[in-house]
């Protein structure tokens, strides 16, 4: 697989470490009501879809940026690559 890095251009997937589902960006509020359940689901449960999947990739052997890669899990086609920072901000996170 080739990951088209937004800053560095096309890079071999072997340079990256895969963290998993991009929903891990949405860390629950630890002080909110029902935080225990929210953290259980956040940490352990996954949609694990067959098809389009957004996931966090870390460019360990490169510029060490976190990316959100949108990929098809049935074909390995890479559909979109963004900086995780941008994706997180778009969801209302401060950084």
């Amino acid at each position: 697989m080739i990951i088209d890095h937004p800053l560095l251009g096309p890079r071999d997937a072997a340079e990256f470490v895969v963290k998993g589902d991009a929903s891990l960006i949405d860390r629950p509020d630890g002080l909110a009501e029902g935080a225990g359940d929210a953290f259980h689901d956040y940490l352990h449960l996954r949609d694990n879809p067959a098809g389009v999947h957004r996931e966090l990739w870390y460019h360990e052997h490169g510029d060490r940026s976190w990316l959100v890669v949108t990929r098809n899990t049935l074909t390995h086609e890479v559909l979109k690559v963004e900086l995780a920072r941008d994706a997180a901000r778009a969801r209302g996170r401060s950084r």
Binding site: A13, A14, R46, P49, T73
Partner: protein
């Protein structure tokens, strides 16, 4: 029909005309007591033990493809009971005991071969960890020996003992580990269940569950609706897809593991050997091919194929332990999709939906578990209480804070 030496002799005299089909191909009935979703190793062994041990025969196995099209026909056939933790080791030792009597119990040649498994260690710290694991194994009667380098060299002289980065210092040896002909396991269990009247329905994909008032009363399939009092899903790598039809999210990600087979060679590798400093394991099939593999690719996938970085990593591992295999030519390689769980351990449990049960999360080690998994799943279905050795395999164990994490890697499926 019972297979025996006498039968072979008589068939030989009469032109082999009397063998008959190994199992029937029945039409689906409108209802069963128990429906099993998935005709892989675990679904078929569940059907076998339900019908042969627990006397429940009004049972159907629903398989979307053909028997053996999933991981039961894709794995590298290694069996062992060399786990450390209490929730796991007694279960895998039960499985080993069932393997030892399997061919007699289902009257089928599965080529169970206890040729031994060697886990190499490369440092003092690793030896201490293996000594501890070996003691845990001995406490369950699994048997284990800690070999030093001299003992190991007598058994396998061809390893690269003086490797500058990862010298080989010895091995943890389980003589009862080995390999089993994987397709024959599926066929043997299928035949054994079929002989007691279990319907094995191929090309029958489950497309939905009939759930009303929190109870599951049947399934929708590509061959029509089927009602059942109890339904158990044994869909391995497709667990999340199938359970999502019942509205459930699982503590599972689907990942691919690749396997490799070389051209046929004269006998060189006596048992199973695993590298302790990287991801590589190997055995030699009875046809002579070197069967080997390594780590999972590490990203979510449902494509039954992997990518080149892992191929390179596996081959580097092989060359680090036994440089002699560098001249063997690769004949075939393939991938299988596995259900990697959040702690690397499986599930055999009821769900919160009445009548719906789940068997899955077997990761890359579910072949060796096939007999005990079927036995314990059948026990759960028949008695509605977990078998004692599978009592820890609950779906709510993360919520309760009691994961079974052999590697201590945390909720990160691609690290288990």
């Amino acid at each position: 029909m019972h297979y025996s030496a006498l039968k072979i002799f008589l068939e030989g005299l009469t032109g082999n005309r009397g063998w008959g089909r190994v199992w029937r191909e029945p039409e689906p009935k409108p209802a069963y007591d128990i429906v099993i979703v998935g005709g892989g190793g675990h679904g078929l062994s569940t059907a076998f033990y339900l019908s042969n041990e627990f006397g429940l025969t009004n049972v159907a196995v629903l398989e979307k493809g053909w028997l053996g099209s999933g991981n039961i026909g894709r794995n590298t056939t290694i069996i062992r009971s060399n786990y450390l933790l209490e929730g796991n080791q007694p279960f895998y030792e039960l499985s080993m005991k069932l393997w030892e009597g399997l061919e007699q119990s289902f009257n089928y040649n599965a080529m169970v071969s206890q040729r031994g498994i060697l886990n190499l260690y490369h440092s003092d710290g690793q030896r201490d960890a293996f000594a501890r694991r070996g003691n845990a194994m001995r406490m369950t009667g699994a048997g284990a020996e800690l070999l030093d380098r001299a003992q190991l060299e007598k058994m396998v002289p061809f390893l690269d003992y003086e490797n500058a980065r990862f010298p080989i210092k010895g091995a943890l040896y389980q003589p009862r580990g080995g390999t089993v002909r994987h397709d024959a396991v599926a066929w043997g269990y299928a035949r054994g269940a079929d002989r007691k009247g279990v319907d094995i329905l191929q090309n029958c994909e489950v497309t939905g569950f009939d759930i009303a008032d929190g109870t599951c009363t049947g399934v929708q399939t590509s061959r029509g609706a089927i009602r059942a009092k109890k339904i158990v899903v044994c869909a391995a790598g497709s667990s999340s897809r199938v359970m999502s039809l019942a509205g459930m999210r699982l503590p599972i990600e689907s990942h691919v593991l690749q396997a490799f087979v070389s051209e046929g060679l004269k006998p060189v590798i006596p048992g199973v050997i695993t590298f302790g400093a990287g991801h590589f394991y190997i055995s030699q099939s009875d046809k002579g091919g070197l069967v080997f593999g390594g780590d999972i690719d590490g990203y979510n996938t449902y494509a039954q194929r992997g990518n080149l970085p892992v191929v390179e990593d596996v081959c580097e591992g092989g060359m680090a332990v036994m440089p002699m295999i560098g001249r063997a030519r690769l004949l075939r390689m393939w991938g299988g999709v596995m259900d990697m769980s959040m702690d690397g351990s499986p599930f055999i449990d009821r769900t919160h939906i009445g009548g719906l049960y789940f068997n899955g999360g077997w990761c890359y080690g579910g072949f060796k578990a096939t007999p005990a998994s079927g036995y314990c799943t059948a026990h759960l279905l028949a008695k509605d209480e977990p078998h004692p050795v599978a009592a820890a395999y609950r779906l709510d164990r993360f919520r309760r804070g009691v994961p079974i994490d052999e590697k201590g890697a945390g909720a990160q499926p691609n690290l288990h």
